[in-house]
Symmetry: none
DNA sequence: GCTGAATGTCACATTACTGTCACAAATCTT
DNA sequence: AAGATTTGTGACAGTAATGTGACATTCAGC
């Protein structure tokens, strides 16, 4: 019989979001083996998600009817049916078409994996798996399938930067930037008219974990300047000798 | 049971600030291992922060209720729970949502680190760590989360000087100054209508460590005058023969 | 394993700033 | 008025800060 995991209320207090991943995401676990179901459930809850459980196809559909999940963990082998078939069925219905599926399979053979993916799974994971790996996959999938976050577009000095699409345009013309230069420009655009030292920029753009030379900032500033110059957007980043750099529309 | 570290009053005497970081910041240490807690506490206090300690989740919440910390050092492994879960809970409450968290983890694996960050930690540090590293991280995080210091704009005699953007303008027109001239003008604008000897200016603007010729002041005064004159701002700096210089709007 | 993009680092080039001097100009003293 | 003292000014060289090209390494994707 289908049932909520008994722990499902512990951690699903508030629907907060971190980095675009809805932490309160509902995850439907479809797995007939009780021990494994329990394990999955525990890990999923531990990570702060809501967990719904089903042991067979019927209870799965029941759960879905009650409560549309954000992601489905689907066992390859189920009583009377298989995960591949269920995946096909899920994909064929409008309501469930866009719910990502992670397939759980005991067999490590390449062919199975491919078949699972062809059947419509977004990812697969082979048993035995580490909780860490499982959760990493879940997060990755959720992140990928997250509804396009209302994009916090930033515009300054004729530049338009869209964090979600990772694009920068000047006069509707795209500017190609590497990841670091993108973050650097993003930071500058959201902190214009203020001087930042190399150390501050390293903290803000690179993070505190990495330790790179301060002069590396100069190099990236140069690369960013070069990219902006190519789009005829010179002079936006000014050097303040002895202090650092400043982004300014003047 | 929760408790204040017994040394917590020793070093938290004056609420001085360095580089915009409030040194009197309250840091909550959540760590069950007594030896490590003691070590953390000691280092944190040594650095001039206030330290609060908790050995488990309950005492953590108690501490928070009593005294909202500015930063939380959170152990990855805690009795009955984990730092990841606590981090999520902290993030889900309005009162604690914006308190930065540094995760302490014994495991060096990349995946754990990433998971810790995804859980809402702002930074992590792997045991064993050096006190220097720990404090560097703490300062960096505090610096990053510090409310942007309101820019202490200075204006006098038609000039506007903004330390944070490192700019001087006269009638909305920028005036280009070198570092020393900038500091000199900043000092004058904040100490107008008063005569300063060359020695005093050297102390205030150059610092007491350096030893340069007194006449060097004259040269910089001249350069500053030239820059101001170019912006049609003459006569702001007057020579008081035999005594020094004075900044005055007349 | 190969390939290409991204990145960090270095060495070297270039620039900006600074301090000092010599001398000119101004101001004071007698 | 002449000399003494103080300040203004232009030039210059040394130095520190920044710009720049090249290179090695890493890493994902194939």
């Amino acid at each position: 019989m289908s049932h909520y995991c008994h722990k499902s209320l512990i951690l699903s207090e508030s629907p907060l979001k971190i980095e675009g991943v809805a932490l309160s995401a509902k995850i439907l676990i479809v797995e007939d083996e009780p021990a494994i179901q329990e394990l999955l459930c525990f890990n999923v809850l531990q990570a702060g998600f809501q967990a719904l459980c089903a042991a067979d196809a019927d209870s799965m559909w029941l759960q879905i009817q009650n409560n549309l999940p954000d992601l489905i963990l689907l066992d390859w082998m189920l009583p009377n049916t298989s995960g591949v078939i269920l995946a096909r069925q899920l994909r064929s219905q409008d309501a469930t078409r866009n719910i990502p599926i992670i397939m759980l399979t005991a067999r490590g053979e390449e062919r199975d994996k491919i078949m699972g993916l062809e059947a419509g799974a977004d990812d697969y994971i082979t048993k035995p798996f580490s909780p860490r790996e499982l959760l990493a996959r879940i997060r990755a999938i959720l992140r990928r399938h997250a509804p396009p976050i209302p994009d916090k577009m930033v515009s300054a000095g004729g530049l338009v930067l869209s964090p979600s699409s990772h694009r920068v345009t000047a006069h509707d013309k795209a500017i190609e930037l590497g990841p670091t230069e993108f973050r650097l420009l993003h930071f500058f655009m959201t902190h214009a008219e203020r001087v930042y030292s190399r150390t501050q920029l390293l903290d803000q753009v690179w993070g505190t974990q990495v330790f790179v030379e301060e002069r590396t900032v100069d190099v990236h500033i140069r690369r960013l300047r070069a990219a902006l110059e190519e789009a005829k957007m010179d002079g936006l980043i000014q050097t303040v000798r002895g202090s650092g750099y400043r982004f300014s529309v003047n």
